[in-house]
């Protein structure tokens, strides 16, 4: 069942991505990118990652869509007709083919004996609950083992917020000068 859902959601994601490339109305593009994030979140549920799915639904589908809609409202709603760029397209296709060739040496999807599954992860799964008392291992790693990294993450959000505020404050100042 989860394999079928995985297939269907990935196909929907590809369709959404093609829609984003083809549409020129920016509000529609932003809404599609919100749908893309929501599909990604659903896929994370299927792939046994509920914590990541909740974050992606709240941040990717919620906050990012609001920020992009705000930007579209402050700038323009229509993309100018862009000409097709064959060189860019060729670069993208060649890179994609090389990456697909590269996947041939990856272990199959869902393999239990893949190198990523046998080294560090099992240690957290077997000892994490005893050491921290938190049954959700993702939370245990995030808040306990790597608490300082999470603090660093908060610093990143703070500096991004300060950056956005400074940029938009400059906007208001410039508008005031124009009005005088």
């Amino acid at each position: 069942m989860s394999e079928i859902l995985d297939y269907v959601l990935l196909l929907l994601l590809a369709a959404t991505a093609i829609g984003i490339v083809r549409l020129r109305g920016l509000i529609a593009v932003v809404m599609l990118s919100g749908i893309y994030s929501l599909l990604v979140a659903s896929l994370f549920i299927v792939l046994d990652a509920p914590d990541v799915a909740l974050t992606e639904a709240a941040v990717g589908a919620g906050a990012a869509t609001i920020l992009m809609l705000g930007t579209v409202a402050l700038t323009t709603r229509e993309e100018k007709r862009a000409r097709f760029r064959p060189v860019s397209f060729l670069v993208v296709v060649v890179t994609g083919l090389m990456l697909i060739y590269g996947t041939s040496s990856l272990p199959p999807f869902g393999a239990e004996d893949a190198p990523a599954q046998v080294h560090v992860g099992p240690r957290y799964l077997t000892e994490g609950y005893e050491q921290t008392g938190v049954p959700n291992i993702v939370t245990a790693v995030l808040a306990s083992y790597r608490g300082f990294d999470t603090l660093g993450e908060v610093v990143v959000i703070l500096s991004a917020g300060v950056g956005v505020l400074m940029l938009l404050a400059g906007r208001r100042r410039a508008q005031g000068e124009k009005g005088q």
Binding site: L11, D51, V59, N136, V141, V156
Partner: protein
Amino acid sequence: MDFVDGFATHYNYWIVIILMMTGFYLVIARPNMVKQLVGLSLFQGSMFILYISFAYVTGGSAPIIVEGEQSYANPLPHVLILTAIVVGISTTAVGLALVVRIHQAFGTIEEDEIHDLTRED
């Protein structure tokens, strides 16, 4: 590698690469800056799927310890991607604020038009 075999076992990775390249194309080929930022978030989203696919174990369950459950998904990629989502929204927010300022300074957010405007000076 047998093509059909490769498709069945690496389906997730292949679609991830297609999504990634779609975002890449938007970033390098489209002059509209909002579209470029949407392309960047497509790219990011595909990267998240790649990592969560690495963590998945067939027949496993979410990494929340329950008695009697033997097989879990790997928790470490989940933690990495939680951090990446938050850092991603921060960079997107700064990018969008820059787009608003560029629109105010040049009256357009099309890259080629800005290029023409700055060349005339």
